[in-house]
Amino acid sequence: MDTADYMGVYADESDEHLRALSDNILRLEAEPEDLSVVADIFRSSHTLKGMSATMGFDEIADLTHRMESVLDQVRHGRMPVTRGLIDALFLCLDALQEMVDQAVEGQAISTQTAPLLARLEELEAGTRGGGARIPLRHPARSPAQGQEGVHVVDPLADSQPGQRAQAATYEPRETREPDSGAVPATTEAAVPAPRSADSKVQRTVRVDIHKLDDLMNLTGELVIARTQLAELTSRHDVPGLSETVAGIGRISSDLQRVVMRARMMPIEQVFSRFPRMVRDLARAAGKEVDFRITGAETEIDRTVIDEIGEPLVHLLRNAVDHGIEPPETRREHGKPLPAHVYLDARQEGESVYVTVEDDGGGIDPDRVKAKAVHQGLITQGEADSITDAEAVHLLFRSGFTTVDHATEVSGRGVGMDVVRSKIQALGGRVEVDSAVGEGTTFTIELPLTLAIVEALLVGVGEEQYAIPLSAIEETHAIAPSALTTVHQERVISLRGSMLPLAFLREILEVPGDPPVDPLEIPIVVVKQGQRRVGLVVDRLIRQQEIVIKPLSGALGVLPHVTGAAILGDGSLALILAAEDVAAA
């Protein structure tokens, strides 16, 4: 059999099973009495074993085989669910992931499974002597369980009569010989057949993601060609031409929508690795954390799936490491234990909101201010005049870092500008809401579909820029005489309140001179955190759909633009990071 043909399927399916394993081991840790979870773990492991054996990945098959053997004991109530068991299963999972990756990459499998096999065997042997059950929910035990190394089941420890009774009914099976690591992994008869697989018949096909990408790129080009066609049409008077072009326009819009839908995936793809990560982080930091995920079924463009993981890791890591207080502190303050960290995704209109919420210590605006002044980001005068919400928002300013010590300002400054720039590159925004002593919520807003957005084209000198409509509040044309200067800041009065202005020509260092004696000055009002800023341009060109093309990382860190759009005539307009420009 030519295994190469099946490698793609193997990669996909093993991925699914590894994810299911991870989810279910976590579930088992939370509910050690729920033996149906054990059955699920058993099934995933069994399927993985069969697939791997078929592909000739004996190391994977051997390890899953040994896992099964242990799980079978647990499933039949002959072995308790212990912290040691959970730890061992997670280690097995890591090893399996590594081996599957190696196998899929076509590398030789180099993971050393011998220690794991021995550990599993040890666990299993422990049962025979009547293993000590460590009830996971037992609160008295929990602090000690934060330590590595409590995993070995001591046969001499307080064995429970119930366990003994069950152990007595246990019958040896031929596959559980001590040297069973060498037993061929394909002996199906030795293990019960898995329960009938999901009975849901799905009318779907697996499509290589690159084909979807190609499809979307082609659709994008179709949109560009359509725009060119529409421009040409306006110059020629051929009967029926404009109707035909309009028809093509409708069809290409529909096509685009369909392709976009096809690229959407549940955000669960990203979320699935977090329970394990948060668990490990919490254990490492000695924190007690109850981590909940909601809305994992929310669908989002696959480009976001690829990019959103890193910022979320940042936010979750900060929540566990710095947001959540140590258990003693929480007890002192009468806060509930375990602490809560919530991750939620939901769709509202054309946006997807992802929130990371913790009930930890919150962010102290005064300390953020002090830090920002110290780092020269704002003056003392500004620090005194801004609101707490604005102060907390300073976290996202590039350059705001807590270089000296990670726990300063609840450690929240670290890498937040990176989080924000990543989200902005996706056309999204991130907001923070925090109350000292009560917790912090980060809300990420992302567009449902990414590659195509409605934008306003503006001109500055000879250059054109696109501002996504999502960032724009309104546009105005003001008389030059309406411009005044307050505290060295140029402002206009708009409906009775002062609107600070940002001159794109200066911020973007556009070559050439500003228009001489313009009759009016066009202004694009954008949101910048909590405040509004008027971007001053030379002219408003038109509103149009643009296809976002990413800019190469080779260009360096670009503070003001997030991508480029190809216009109808083949020229490029850079897409402004409106919020950053306004903050400059």
Partner: protein, 167 residues
């Protein structure tokens, strides 16, 4: 500085093909194999805040690729593009990068052994990997990869002043 990736010499006596280009008043050569394609000049859009050596980005059949103006780091005055101006598209790992040159002159076949290491002051020029004698003149062989790098500063250091938490 290492030699650009010249193909192995075949038993039949391999000839290496070089394309000669003009940047400012000087003529250079680079291995043809390193150029993905050569396109006539097209509008390059300036990117505010981009690293200094970049003239901007251009539209290459629907892809937006960065374009390097090598004269910036060579200290040669820039000039308005004309009908001779070309952009050499280089394969820079996961993306393409364009190199703006004032003219593309000819493709010549040489014996790779004829490429001499740069000597004297030329050895100090980071993008020069050799010198080759062509008909009546000496031409510097450039490593286009080195030409598109920012001068002197390793890319990782450009923004290394702030400590950031790992991943």
């Amino acid at each position: 500085m290492t030699q650009p990736a010249l193909p192995e010499e075949s038993p039949l006596g391999h000839r290496e093909q070089l394309v000669t280009i003009r940047i400012g008043a000087e003529e250079f050569a680079l291995p043809v194999g390193q150029a993905r394609e050569i396109v006539p000049y097209r509008r390059v859009t300036r990117v505010p805040g981009a690293a200094y050596q970049f003239a901007g980005v251009m539209n290459l059949r629907g892809d937006v690729i960065p374009v390097v103006e090598p004269k910036r780091r060579m200290g040669v005055p820039e000039r308005e593009p004309d009908e001779e101006t070309c952009i050499i598209v280089l394969d820079a790992g996961d993306h393409d990068i364009g190199l703006m040159v004032d003219a593309v002159r000819e493709v010549v076949a040489i014996d790779p052994d004829c490429v001499q290491p740069p000597a004297g002051a030329m050895a100090e020029v980071p993008y020069l990997v050799g010198v080759v004698e062509l008909a009546d003149r000496l031409v510097g062989v450039v490593d286009p990869e080195a030409m598109i790098q920012p001068s002197g500063v390793p890319a990782s250091d450009a923004d290394g002043s702030t400590a950031r938490e790992s991943p």
